[in-house]
Symmetry: C4
Subunit: 375 residues, 4 copies
């Protein structure tokens, strides 16, 4: 095991990627990443049913475009928590960007910052929060919290993040224990010892995710949401929810937003794809708080669909790490700009002039016509 | 890039094709066309979901035939805008037939004319409208307009088309900007400089579609339909619609027909297949104007299905260019005659004596029996 | 073409086949049959959607077995038109068994006769009706009529068949013109000139099916059913129906049975699979006459399903020709006995003691449980 | 045939397996088992539709997890017939474990006993009941009865089992005759003569299952349930039921539990997968007796789904024999412990603290969101 750790090295290229689409980045990244890190990043849990459904379920809908609306160029910018951002796209929290590139979170945050879109700094970063924040010249920064057993540490982390410029807290509630990730089992994956987790004391290098998670509280409850809210004084996004019940509870406990997510299909397998869960959450939230979705977004039309079904913005996770591996911050930036272009084209061609014009009536289930005729 | 352009050459064969079915033409054409042109012609946008659904969704229905009706030979002829044509089949507008064959639009129009079926002359032809018209000895000719920024140019084009014999205008409203066509991105496809677009001033050779489209108006609106109608004095088919709302609007603005189309799956991906969108359009049009459909028609049974679901005639696009590439006007003619035969056989074997006898009651959704038994 | 014809030879083996299942016979037969004959026998029309649906749609149902019913050995025998037969299985009409084996219809009828199941003598046999009849020692014999343009010939054929022992007439109404069979087009298939059609004058050898069908009436109507009934004085099975409307009409015109069939997926493609059409026919027939189904039956559970959905017996077509090709009458007999065993086992394991105990309540749609829970 | 029998040898390894998932055990076991035994163990009947549906239909549901419930470690233990067991998982009856490993049932029962989960001793064991019982140090032991023609033998077997410690009788009612198992036909599979069936007199070695089953009663009826109940004085699980009707009858005849099973897809093919049949059984049982399910369970999430749909515990059949083949009792134990871990993780990540907290509301059909939006 230590042998594997010693041999770890991360890509270092800094370049544009000539991105044709976000899907292809996975195969390209597989060629520059080592087996263990690639398995950790790309893999899901169990039979990877949720991993696949995250992407594929976007195709369960069809977009019904409108023409002759007088629309020339759509405006893809939007406001999140009162701040204007370039597009309804953000970087969700992911651990250990150092697996993907030597610049680690400095690269990914720089890329997202240049694109003027929100970036989430993660508890399990390989870079100090304060350094990540400085690499991100523009766009809102959020901080994702894994809730430590030591409450004082939580308060300290929240205050450090706020001081570093975080404007919202992403409270990830779905990973007290890692899911059943077979790639990691087969690769006996441990974080390379060269990679540190400088934001938390005690997370030794060379450990597995399961070992690291022992530092964090098991048995989280709704009062912990209150704690995060009060200890940070910032809007709290409760992230990882898939059930309407939990969405209602989150609002009751003061959440400022709901994060619909299945952790990229990495926690419990056989849960609904994010886009599948979304409309049920939208129904109960009824516009009281924004909803953010991550999971499976690879296309401009996916962004449009998620917004039509009630999301305010969508996270783009794995493509961030793949583009980081392939081209550093330039790669990340290239990926985001490509997605922005696809999204702008989807708005243009479907007849949506502004982000807020995107609505559920633009979608029909894939098989509408036949079903309609039957009834 | 200029190298690629210099090396361009188009097929020149003139021959019958012994067509067994229209599907196989794509593979055959792939062998005689260069990579860039073949990619441009065959490709769709994005994940090509709509491209595939165009063809595959025809199989979501089953035809319920009737026998012992006393029918000997069906009559496949029909009337379109008061003119009798050999079959409810037409050539939809497509740019740059010069990519497929040295005779370009002269070949395709000749083939369709010999078959006595409507042919659409396109704004982005490689041949002058007047020359295309003369190569088409019989059958109605229509003219497809991309709406130029210069309104005078539009009026001039419409009058030239009318003078050349066009009896209807196809106003294509779904391509102000080209869709996300990855084959063209990968091939860095530009129209070969040897191919001219003689009907429009300023469309330089050697450009990409995106560059060319800058000559045309972005931000089209419904008043432009009125302009086209008044400037041409001809029936206007508003083409590229997929939403019931737009179909209603088109009728309100004086359209003489609706063109249900997703531009061959080349504009916004993830929109409904043409045959999927059709019945919803039929429901709102309620017989006030004819509906034309293009997208995915490869079989005589497809023609029958589209008519059963409300279309008056169907366009056959890519097979025109494939058969043109393989055999010039003789190839095109061969393809159309084969499709006519398949359609005649479909009418014969399903018990429809005349085109107007084809009705929705001939179809059932694929899984009817099981669903019926459940309720 | 004549070269091909001269080279024709048919298999001559007479042997047991050690049948494991009827599906595998196609691959085995492909090895002993020439390309043209195999293509003619195995092929369907168009995209072969109906050909595949015939077999696959049986899997849209699930059988719900009952246990502890006291059933030891089920009785698979049944009565058809008042005659006891060994099983609700029959040989449907098929042309030109001489393509499959040198014994032609003598082999197939002998095999079915030994199995004591009904056999249909076809108009387009390569053997005289009278000879076929003598090779079939037991079990009812039926005669299938293609309706000649010459009404006198029809009357003569019906009387010859009756004299030879036919107890019912199968009036095939779905093939005035052959379907769009691509294998035959690709193989330029003509019946080998060595094979004669001795029951009809004027059907020259070496012709295609399309040429032969010119001898028969196009434009059949319901009065022709009356003619067949009166000219034969026998029960008439109107075969090839898929629509409830036609089933009702057939009963009105005095049919003694309905033959639900799509001609083995060889006529109009994209029509419903036989087992898909069956329940709709059953609903309108309401038990007034028996229903026979052919198309896709390959398993004992398929027989059980068809009976549960309203059929009185099922035809087994291609497997007859495949087993004939592989083993002559012994092969045919072996195939039938295997199917009987599978059917007996299906009855035993589902708890049906007698054929008449099989009923619709034994089946559920494949996805019942989920759908039930939704409502 | 005798040649094959002489050459039989079973694996003998005793080792941990480093199980990553239960699915992969089949491929691994295929490498250590001979063709005939592997075909017998792995094969299903007919087209193996039910065999596949057993596993695949678990994916027709999605689990909707709840978070922030305060749950730290879930308790996966449960009570069955008043006895606490480590998990709601048991070994269902399977014949001839000697095919898989030289320790035969001694190995499998030892593994399950160490895991403290119920084990079912089978009539067709290769080991005496009394010996199997001693190898199983903990956890309930059940005895599966095939009902002999000789009623006295049944009574004797039941009393021996009870004396050996059996606390319940599994009355298997679905195999009077074996299903249509093609692997066994193709391999001409007979039990190797070296393997004895010491619990029943007269079952000679070297026979096929069909021959052996002639010792047992054909034509079982509901009174036989009464006999088993009275002759054993133990709770009776009527196993092999798929219809709500039979479940009701079983309760009426005094069954203490229902065993939902299709015999691993080995009896009648095209019957519903076990998890498909389960909710319909649950509906009629209405909690009056526990329901046990076997068929297709390969994942911790499958266990959770079955319990959510009404099962009290689930059997894990083939993986027992595969792990036995690969590692003897250590392998079996390893397999069970892995499944326990997956199940514990599924409970943890879905928010179920105790087995009895698992309920139907945790599941939705796979496509819920789209269907909801349509209505």
């Amino acid at each position: 095991m230590s042998t594997t750790v010693e041999l770890f090295s991360a890509p270092a290229a800094e370049q544009d990627l000539a991105v044709v689409n976000l899907r292809e980045l996975e195969d390209r990244a597989a060629k520059v990443l080592q087996t263990g890190p690639f398995g950790y990043i790309s893999g899901g849990s169990g039979d990877e049913i949720t991993l696949r459904e995250n992407v594929e379920a976007f195709d369960d809908y069809r977009i019904v475009p409108r023409y002759l609306t007088g629309l020339d160029e759509p405006d893809i910018s939007t406001e999140i928590f009162g701040t204007k951002v370039a597009a309804p796209i953000f970087c969700p929290p992911m651990a250990a960007h150092g697996l993907a590139h030597i610049t680690a979170e400095l690269g990914s945050s720089h890329g997202w910052g240049e694109a003027n879109c929100p970036y989430t700094m993660a508890t399990l970063s390989n870079t100090l929060i304060e350094h990540i924040a400085t690499a991100h010249p523009a766009g809102p920064k959020w901080f994702q919290l894994y809730f430590a057993k030591d409450k004082g540490l939580n308060a300290e982390l929240l205050q450090r993040a706020k001081a570093a410029g975080a404007t919202a807290i992403v409270f990830a509630v779905d990973l007290e224990r890692p899911g059943n990730r077979e790639a990691d089992m087969k690769n006996d994956f441990h974080f390379p010892s060269i990679l540190k987790f400088p934001n938390i004391p005690g997370a030794l290098a060379g450990e597995s995710l399961g070992e690291i998670m022992k530092l964090f509280k098991h048995g989280l409850d709704w009062d912990d949401v209150t704690f995060v809210r009060e200890a940070s004084g910032l809007p709290v996004i409760v992230k990882g929810l898939l059930s309407p019940h939990d969405a209602k509870m989150a609002i009751e406990y003061g959440a400022s937003a709901i994060g619909v997510s299945n952790h990229g299909g990495r926690q419990l397998d056989n849960v609904p794809g994010a886009i599948v869960a979304l409309p049920l959450i939208t129904d109960v939230v009824q516009g009281r708080v924004p909803i953010f979705l991550d999971g499976g977004v690879r296309r401009g039309v996916h962004v449009l669909e998620a917004l039509a079904l009630g999301a305010s913005a969508v996270g783009v996770g794995r493509p961030t790490l793949y583009s980081l591996a392939l081209g550093g911050w330039l790669g990340v930036h290239d990926m985001i700009e490509h997605l922005k272009q696809e999204f702008a084209l989807a708005m243009k061609l479907s007849g949506a002039a502004r982000v807020k014009d995107i609505h559920a009536g633009m979608l029909v289930p894939q098989t509408t016509s036949i079903r309609f005729r039957q009834s």
